[in-house]
C-alpha cells in the first residue's frame, strides 16, 4: 500500500483517538466502488486540534464521518479509550456517542427549522438525562452565553438567526453532552469572512474552556493553519503529509502540499508560485492510479512513483511525516 504506514502514530499516553489503516469504499453502479479512503493512519492527542486539508474528493469528510460511524467502514480500526469504534454496535456504540460530537458545514440546514433553539440545544441532554445528569436550565443558558447567544432568544427558531449565529447554536448543541472530541466539518465555509473569525474564536475558546479535542476539516489552508496544532494533507483517499502546523507550512516537503500552498491567491512565501501549476484533472476515485496516487499530476514523477506506493516516513526527528519518493528538499533551520 502506498501513502500508508504507521510512522505518524505516536506512542504517547495522551493519545485519545488512533485511526489505523482506515478504508472506506462506496459502491457505485453494479460492481464499481469509489475508493474514498484507502488505508490511512493517524492519531489525535488529547487537547490537540488536528486539521485535515485537501481538495474535494480527497476523503477528508469521509474520515470524519467514519469516526462517528455515519458511514460504513470497510477495514481498519478506530481506537478510542480502548474501544474500537469501527466495530462497536448497538448499545455500546450508543453509550460512547455522546463523547464524539460533530458540527456541520451548513449551519442553517443542520438545525431543525420547526424547533425552538432551546430545544435544539437541550435535546441531547433530554435523551441522556438519566446518565449524564438531569436536564438543567442553567446548563443550557451557560452554553448559550458561552457561544454568545443571549439566552432570552431561546424561544426563537433557527430562521430568526443569521448564518453565523446558527453555527454558534450548532456549537452549543454539540457541547451540550460535554463531549471529549468535537469534529468540525468545514464549519466556516458557508459563512462570510466577517463572521468567520467570530466562529473560529469561539471554537478556540470552547476548546480551552471545556478541554476539547478538535478534528477540524477545511479546504481553506489559512483557516486550518490558524486553528490547528497538527495538520494532515490528504489527496485521493491517502495521506500525503502530516506534521506540526507551523513546521508543515514553513517547510512543506510533499509536492502536493507545496502545490496547494502555491495555488492559494496569496501564496505562502515558502513555495514558488510555479509549483501550483499542477496539470490535468483529479483522477477517478473508482480507478485510482497505481503507485503514488498523485503520480498523474506531479512535477517530480519518475518510474518508481508509477509502481510503488510511497510509505509514510519521518522527516529527521521532527513531528513531520510524509509519503513521497521524491520529497522536495527545503533548507532546515531558518524560519
Amino acid at each position: 500500500m502506498a501513502g500508508t504506514g504507521h510512522a505518524p502514530l505516536r506512542d504517547d499516553p495522551n493519545v485519545l483517538l488512533t485511526i489505523r489503516d482506515l478504508e472506506v469504499e462506496f459502491p457505485v453502479g453494479r460492481k464499481d466502488v469509489v475508493h474514498a479512503v484507502s488505508g490511512i493512519s493517524f492519531d489525535v492527542a488529547e487537547g490537540e486540534t488536528l486539521g485535515i486539508v485537501g481538495e474535494s474528493g480527497c476523503g477528508k469528510s469521509t474520515v470524519a464521518k467514519s469516526i462517528i460511524r455515519l458511514n460504513d467502514i470497510k477495514a481498519g480500526t478506530i481506537d478510542y479509550q480502548g474501544n474500537d469504534l469501527a466495530t462497536l454496535e448497538g448499545e455500546q456504540l450508543r453509550q460512547i456517542r455522546p463523547d464524539l460530537q460533530m458540527i456541520f458545514q451548513d449551519p442553517i440546514s443542520s438545525l431543525n427549522p420547526r424547533r425552538k433553539i432551546r430545544d435544539v440545544i437541550s435535546e441531547g441532554i433530554a435523551v441522556w438525562g438519566n446518565t449524564q445528569g438531569a436536564w438543567s436550565q442553567e446548563r443550557i443558558e451557560e452554553l448559550m452565553v458561552a457561544v454568545g447567544i443571549d439566552p432570552k432568544f431561546g424561544e426563537r427558531r433557527p430562521h430568526q438567526f443569521s448564518g453565523g449565529q446558527c453555527q454558534r447554536i450548532g456549537i452549543a448543541r454539540a457541547l451540550a453532552l460535554d463531549p471529549k472530541v468535537l469534529i468540525c466539518d468545514e464549519p466556516v465555509s458557508a459563512l462570510d469572512v466577517s463572521v468567520q473569525a467570530q466562529v473560529l474564536n469561539i471554537l478556540e475558546d470552547m476548546k480551552n474552556r471545556y478541554g476539547l479535542t478538535l478534528l477540524f476539516i477545511s479546504h481553506d489552508l489559512s483557516v486550518v493553519k490558524n486553528v490547528s496544532d497538527r495538520i494532515i494533507v490528504m489527496y485521493l483517499g491517502k495521506v500525503c503529509e502530516i506534521g506540526n502546523a507551523d513546521e508543515l507550512y514553513e517547510r512543506p516537503r510533499h509536492p502536493y502540499t507545496r502545490a496547494l500552498l502555491a495555488s492559494i491567491p496569496e501564496p505562502a512565501p515558502t513555495v514558488d508560485v510555479s509549483e501550483g501549476d499542477i496539470d490535468g484533472e483529479l483522477p477517478s476515485p473508482i480507478h485510482p492510479p497505481a503507485g503514488c496516487r498523485f503520480n498523474t499530476r506531479c512535477q517530480h514523477v519518475t518510474d518508481i512513483c508509477l509502481t510503488e506506493e510511497p510509505v509514510m516516513q519521518q522527516v529527521g526527528d521532527s513531528d513531520h511525516f510524509l509519503a513521497c519518493h521524491h520529497p522536495v528538499e527545503v533548507s532546515v533551520g531558518v524560519s
Binding site: E55, S56, V145, G148, I149, D150, S162, G164, Q165, R168, D192, V193, S194, V195, Q196, A197, Q198, L200, N201, I202, E204, H219, L221, S222, V223, K225, N226, V227, S228, D229, A245, D246, Y249, A259, L260, L261, A262, S263, I264, P265, E266, A268, P269, G276, D277, I278, E281, L282
Partner: protein, 352 residues
C-alpha cells in the same frame, strides 16, 4: 485620462417584497477604463451581484432601477428593444458562479457555444463548430474536438467553468463580468481559472469586472479594487493602495479579520462584531457604524458621502482609518471602552 469603457452613475436598485422594500444598491458610482480589471469585493448582501446583474439587465421585472449606465458612450438602459438582443452576450457578457447551473444539462457543450455564434454572428453550422473548437482550445480544454460533443455532466467542475468562459468569449466581448467565477472550485483549479481569465483579458485587451468575496483573489488579479458594504461602494483604490493603506474602517477590519497563512497557528483573530446591515428601511447613518470601532456621533447623523481623491482613492467615511482623524476617533473610543453605538472594544467581550 484613458478611454472610459463603462461608467455607472448614481445607481439605485430596490426590490419591493412583502416585508418591505429591500434597498439592495444605494447610489453606486464607478467607472472602468478600457482593458482594466476591476475587483468588486463584498460579503453576501453587499449588493455586488445585484450591481453586476443590473449591468447585464438580468434583474427580475419587479426590481426598480434608477441611475445611468454608459457603455462605450451609449446609454445602456436606453438601448432600443431591437438592438438589445445583440448587445448583452455580445459586447458585455457574464460568467456565473456555478458552472453546473449556467450550462444546460441536456445539451452538448458544443451546441451551447455554437448557439451563441449562430444567433449573434450569423455563422453557419460548420463555421460555428470550427470556432467553438477553437474557443475550447483557447480556454485550455484538452481534446477540444472530443469535448465539444460531451454533455456538461461528463466534465469536471473546472472544465465546465472553462466551457462557460468559452461561451462568454464567443462573440469577442469588450467587457466580461465574472461573478464569483471560482467560488465553487478547489484552490488548484481556482488558480488555473484565474490565470486563464487574466491571460485572456490581456490577449484581447478586454475589460473585466471580477466580483468576489475573497480579498486574496482580488488582490492577486485586479488593477483596482472596490469594496461594497450595505449596497454602497465604501472604498475604491488601486489594489496596492487599498491593501496597504486602506481608509474605510470596514476594509481595514476585513483585512484584519482573515486568518493569514504567514501568521503562526493559534493567532487570535480580530472578529468584526455584530451582523451585516438590514437592507429594509436602513437608518440614515453610516451602514457600518454599529460594527465600527471608529464610530463617532456624526456617523449616526448622516450617510458619509464618497470623498478622498476622486479617481484615485475614494472612500466614504467621516473618520477614515490610517489618518489622524481616524486615529483620534479610535483612541477616544478605546479610552471610553465602547463606541457611540455601544460596541465594546476592550478585550474580547463575546459576540452578538
Amino acid at each position: 485620462m484613458a478611454d472610459l469603457q463603462l461608467t455607472v452613475e448614481d445607481l439605485y436598485v430596490r426590490f419591493p417584497t412583502s416585508r418591505g422594500v429591500v434597498e439592495a444598491v444605494n447610489g453606486v458610482d464607478f467607472s472602468l477604463e478600457k482593458g482594466e480589471m476591476l475587483g468588486i469585493v463584498g460579503e453576501s448582501g453587499s449588493g455586488k451581484s445585484v450591481t453586476a446583474k443590473t449591468l447585464m439587465n438580468l434583474l427580475p421585472r419587479t426590481a426598480e432601477v434608477d441611475g445611468t449606465i454608459t457603455f462605450e458612450g451609449e446609454d445602456v438602459r436606453a438601448i432600443a428593444a431591437e438592438k438589445r438582443k445583440h448587445f448583452w452576450g455580445v459586447k458585455m457578457t457574464m460568467v456565473f458562479q456555478d458552472p453546473m447551473t449556467s450550462l444546460n444539462p441536456v445539451k452538448r457543450c458544443g451546441e451551447q457555444i455554437t448557439e451563441t455564434l449562430r444567433y449573434h454572428m450569423g455563422d453557419d453550422k460548420a463555421t460555428a463548430r470550427k470556432k467553438a473548437i477553437d474557443l475550447l482550445e483557447q480556454v485550455g480544454i484538452p481534446e477540444p474536438a472530443k469535448r465539444i460533443d460531451q454533455y456538461p455532466h461528463e466534465l469536471s467542475g473546472g472544465l465546465r467553468q472553462r466551457v462557460v468562459i468559452a461561451m462568454a468569449l464567443a462573440c469577442e466581448p469588450s467587457l466580461l463580468i465574472a461573478d464569483e467565477p471560482t467560488t465553487a472550485v478547489d484552490v488548484t483549479v481556482q488558480k488555473r481559472l484565474l490565470d486563464l481569465l487574466d491571460g485572456l483579458r490581456r490577449e484581447r485587451g478586454m475589460s473585466m469586472i471580477l466580483i468576489t468575496h475573497d480579498l486574496g483573489v482580488a488582490r492577486g488579479r485586479c488593477d483596482d479594487v472596490a469594496v461594497m458594504y450595505g449596497g454602497r461602494l465604501v472604498e475604491r483604490a488601486p489594489t496596492e493602495t487599498l491593501f496597504d493603506d486602506s481608509r474605510h474602517p470596514y476594509t481595514d477590519a476585513l483585512l484584519r479579520t482573515i486568518p493569514r497563512i504567514d501568521q503562526p497557528s493559534h493567532t487570535r483573530l480580530e472578529p468584526i462584531e455584530g451582523r451585516p446591515p438590514e437592507l429594509i428601511n436602513p437608518p440614515e447613518q453610516c451602514a457600518f457604524a454599529p460594527r465600527c470601532r471608529y464610530a463617532q456621533p456624526d456617523c449616526l447623523e448622516a450617510i458619509p458621502p464618497v470623498g478622498g481623491v476622486m479617481g484615485k482613492h475614494e472612500f466614504a467615511c467621516f473618520h477614515p482609518a490610517n489618518t489622524d482623524r481616524g486615529r483620534e476617533a479610535l483612541a477616544a473610543n478605546v479610552a471610553a471602552g465602547e463606541t457611540v453605538t455601544g460596541l465594546q472594544i476592550q478585550g474580547y467581550a463575546g459576540v452578538n
